[in-house]
């Protein structure tokens, strides 16, 4: 009797539905897709084993990935070990399988279906099932995690999870999206959570603060020593190890992250061989600090890798709600009066490059015909004179009706002082005065959001796709708390942006994207400044890289030993023989030829 009752209880689901999920059956006509056709990018010669030592600048305040104090750069290390349902191929940018083997798009453009890999398992051994995703959504919406942004995001972007069976489910969005956006908005960064681990009550924040959460990725934290180090250990029998796009990646057995609170001191540790790799993208490190014995004797090598991924949009936005910048000729005058090239060739040591348009690194979606307007006093003079600013006052600054041609530049980082002062001094030659308003980062960002700036000197982090709507659509102009810093309000541009958002065909989208960039260039309220289309690292010679050492869209592999949402991390490996050889050579004084590798496989042009 007792067993019968139990089996009845088990047969009836605890709840047939909740606001977060419901049972459903597969709609007819669903076309399942996968992608095993794209090239692999990891090196088949990679060897497993060894310990990689790296450093972090501060110990994380928590091991949680959401909730108070979780927004730390360390979070990417934990999140990257939650395998994503799908990834974007780091070279072809097409969708490739991850934790899901197949995916399909619902006819309503709001749903995406996934088949979970049959072997996919948690670090505690339990299989990954559809309900784990339903619980993931429930958790992100729960007040217990004390994360209002996540509560809001997962309530407004996500509608619910449809559970088809244990291994098949769908994510339903609140808005319509094209296929790319469905992956981008719904699949990327949305992780299953283990309901065995998380008890969503008022103690959650405290309870799991230092607990190691079960994950689905290649590594798991094996030990932490608070304030000192965190060790990640490779799972010996990880379910994904032999999948096409995971094979030969994640080669190192252990990754030890030491806390070294000062970058200069960390570099000394590196030079002593206590760290295996070091990020050298900053010019001062690459040129001035990465010198000396260990480099000359070939024990430590340098690698400069050019990538072709979306570039952060650095620049200056002229606020068109300010009377001065309503006149396109004034804007053009300013474009030609900013001596960005001089900043690049002097204070930035020729290391950074000129950004040419608002959105570079989006493959065919980037309009490569556009070139940033150069510093040209004649052209600046022509445009400014045309706008009525022909006369110069006693201090050499142009005047018109008793007003001086002066504009305020708002920026948020004192480290940019040396760049801004060069722009200021050079602009004087064109008869333009720039007054500098250095605020702290948060206050500066707020000033720009409130549109209280005249010129916003800032930058936007690179996204998987351009943010045309937020930054340049008229809907977001003339009002506070939007990202349209230039207050661009151009009906022709609005039409293109709207069309681009609704377009599902990749080629047409790219074509529209190029036209949008052209129009932004013509409006001339955005002055592109610089880009850093590469990463540079130094590594001991026992660290080995595939050929080429990175992918089209990869980022600094030392800074991001694990990178969430991306599929290019963990491609290097350690050669134990080379390590023994090097250590012996250092003792005996034997040297190797110094190596500085510059890889331009994915260099633009």
């Amino acid at each position: 009797m007792k067993t019968l009752l139990l089996s009845i209880l088990l047969a009836v689901p605890a709840a047939a539905s909740s606001p977060h999920w419901e049972k459903a059956s597969l709609p007819a006509g669903l076309k399942w897709q996968t992608n095993e056709a794209d090239p692999v990018y990891a090196d088949p010669a990679a060897k497993k084993g060894g310990t990689f030592y790296a450093h972090i600048l501060s110990f994380p305040l928590t091991l949680r990935t959401v909730g108070p104090d979780a927004n730390d750069s360390f979070r990417t290390f934990i999140n990257a070990n939650h395998t994503e349902l799908t990834y974007f191929h780091p070279n072809t940018r097409k969708v490739i399988p991850g934790l899901a083997t197949h995916w399909a798009y619902g006819p309503d453009q709001k749903s995406i279906y996934f088949k979970i890999h049959p072997k996919a398992a948690w670090s505690d051994g339990a299989p990954v099932v559809s309900m784990d995703y339903a619980f993931g959504l429930e958790m992100m919406r729960s007040k217990a995690i004390v994360a209002p942004w996540y509560n809001e995001h997962y309530s407004t972007k996500f509608d619910k999870i449809l559970i088809i069976d244990d291994k098949t489910f769908a994510i339903i969005s609140r808005d319509r999206h094209n296929h790319f956006d469905l992956h981008y908005t719904l699949a990327e960064g949305f992780h299953p959570r283990s309901s065995r681990f998380h008890k969503l009550d008022e103690n959650w924040v405290r309870d799991v603060n230092w607990k190691i959460e079960p994950n689905t990725g290649p590594y798991q934290i094996s030990s932490i020593e608070k304030g000192k180090e965190i060790v990640f250990e490779r799972k010996k029998d990880w379910w994904g190890a032999d999948l096409k796009y995971f094979k030969n990646r994640y080669n190192v057995d252990r990754i030890v992250l030491k806390v070294i609170r000062d970058q200069n001191i960390a570099f000394e540790h590196f030079k002593k061989g206590q760290l295996d790799g070091f990020s050298l993208t900053i010019p001062q490190y690459w040129h001035d600090k990465a010198k000396g014995d260990v480099f000359d004797k070939g024990y430590v090598r340098k690698l400069w890798f050019y990538e072709d991924r979306p570039q952060p949009e650095y620049g200056m936005w002229l606020n068109q709600d300010v009377d001065l910048f309503k006149d396109r000729d004034v804007r053009l005058g300013f474009q030609h009066a900013m001596n960005v090239d001089k900043v690049l060739s002097t204070v930035l040591r020729g290391d950074y490059e000129r950004l040419n348009s608002s959105n570079e690194g989006y493959g065919k979606g980037t309009n490569r015909e556009l070139k940033a307007r150069p510093f040209d006093l004649k052209k600046a003079d022509m445009h400014l004179t045309k706008a009525g600013w022909g006369k110069r006052g006693p201090d050499g600054i142009r005047v018109k009706d008793g007003r001086r041609l002066s504009a305020r530049v708002t920026y948020g980082h004192a480290s940019h002082n040396e760049r801004v002062v060069v722009l200021k001094e050079e602009a004087k030659k064109a008869g333009i005065e720039l007054t500098l308003q250095l605020l702290d980062p948060a206050a500066s960002f707020k000033t720009m959001l409130e549109k209280k700036h005249e010129i916003a000197y800032s930058g936007w982090g690179a996204q998987r796709q351009p943010e045309y709507w937020g930054q340049y659509h008229g809907v977001n102009a003339h009002k506070p708390q939007t990202n349209n810093f230039s207050n661009t309000d151009d009906p022709a541009l609005d039409k293109m942006i709207t069309a681009w958002r609704a377009e599902f065909d990749a080629d047409k989208r790219d074509e529209l994207s190029r036209r949008i960039q052209k129009r932004i260039w013509e409006i001339a309220a955005y002055i592109p400044t610089w880009k850093v289309p590469y990463w540079r690292v130094a590594y001991w010679r026992w660290v080995k890289w595939p050929n080429p050492p990175g992918t089209r869209t990869s980022d600094d592999p030392i800074l991001y030993l694990f990178k969430e949402s991306d599929a290019w991390d963990g491609m290097f490996w350690l050669d134990e023989d080379a390590k023994k050889e090097t250590l012996a050579a250092m003792k005996s004084g034997k040297t190797f030829p110094p190596v500085t590798l510059v890889d331009k496989t994915y260099r633009e042009n």
Partner: protein, 350 residues
């Protein structure tokens, strides 16, 4: 305020001050440095002192800028006199340019091709202390930074003392409820964390020279009140004050004419230390990034660049050495003044 005429006692104090050698020489040097810094444009500037062009003389050091076209160059912006000098020398037609000894101004970026700032001290290019991270002359920024700091400090001192002394005197003179009220007010006021207020203000607006003085005065006037209050209490009961009062003198007359001159030694003793306090305060605020807005030349800002780039030691070293020299001199002056004005040496209590 009416200061006393040089009575024998004051003269005695001055001669005593002059006899304290290191204080005296420090005072002379400091005064010279301050006076010279007011004419810094004549020593440190990218503008020429004298230009002779086609028989015409011009003196561009002060006044409106002169575009390149005025001297036969092909550009509209301010003449680059260093280049003009070379051009004239090459042309060799009797035109000449006389540049100041340090031919750079504090704002200009000297960024020649192929050299990356900061550049080390170099006599050939006349960067006697090198350049900073954006190629500006360190010595020029040091000198103009000194001028800013000293003017700032003196103005701040004036404001603080006018407010502090007035309120302190009034507290001591009127006493009673008035005194009690201000005592409590000052106690509360002193507990407002001044640095945080500055940080908050600086993060929402860019403080300029005068707002910064105003803010610092707002929290700095209390220091003098206590000393003045005690000094005035002491003087108030003396016979000469009683006599003046009996003769029907007004309160303000008694305070400014009788009491203040007799407390002057207290004030004078504090002045040098307030000056150095003002300089240190401004420098540390600039160092933290909450002081005067860039690109104002300032020691604190230079020090920050220097500590970030210890491999280019000339930046940090210039500021540290100047700072030590300046503060040591101010302290010497302060000590000498205290010594010279020590009332125990001049007065006899009856």
């Amino acid at each position: 305020m009416i200061f006393p005429r040089l009575d024998p006692l004051t003269r005695k104090k001055f001669s005593r001050f002059a006899r304290i050698r290191r204080g005296w020489w420090s005072a002379v040097l400091l005064t010279a440095a301050i006076v010279m810094s007011f004419f810094a444009e004549l020593f440190v500037s990218n503008r020429a002192l004298v230009v002779r062009h086609e028989g015409r003389w011009s003196f561009p050091a002060y006044g409106a800028i002169r575009p390149g076209t005025e001297f036969g160059q092909d550009y509209q912006y301010e003449t680059n006199y260093r280049r003009l000098k070379k051009t004239f020398e090459e042309a060799d037609r009797g035109d000449f340019v006389l540049l100041p000894p340090i031919p750079y101004n504090a704002y200009e970026n000297d960024l020649p091709e192929g050299v990356y700032p900061p550049t080390a001290p170099d006599f050939a290019s006349r960067h006697f202390l090198g350049t900073d991270t954006s190629g500006r002359d360190v010595l020029a920024r040091l000198i103009y930074g000194f001028r800013t700091a000293i003017i700032f400090s003196l103005l701040l001192l004036l404001c603080n003392y006018v407010v502090g002394i007035s309120i302190g005197c009034a507290m001591g003179y009127y006493g009673g409820a008035f005194d009690m009220f201000f005592q409590r007010l000052i106690e509360v006021w002193s507990n407002v964390p001044f640095l945080y207020v500055i940080i908050i203000v600086a993060s929402i607006m860019v403080p300029n020279f005068f707002t910064l003085i105003f803010i610092m005065m707002f929290f700095g006037w209390m220091g003098m009140t206590w000393y003045m209050r005690t000094a005035v209490y002491k003087q108030k009961i003396r016979e000469y004050v009683q006599a003046a009062r009996a003769a029907g003198a007004r309160d303000s007359y008694i305070i400014f004419r009788h009491i203040l001159p007799n407390t002057i030694s207290v004030i004078v003793t504090f002045i040098p230390f307030s000056v150095s306090g003002g300089i240190v305060a401004l420098t540390s605020l600039d160092y933290l990034g909450f002081g005067l807005p860039p690109p104002t030349p300032s020691w604190g800002e230079l020090l920050r660049q220097g500590t970030n780039r210890l491999d280019s030691i000339w930046m940090a070293a210039s500021v540290v050495v100047s700072m030590i020299a300046l503060l040591t001199m101010v302290t010497f002056v302060g000590e000498a003044v205290r010594e010279a004005f020590d009332p125990r040496r001049h007065t006899v209590y009856e």
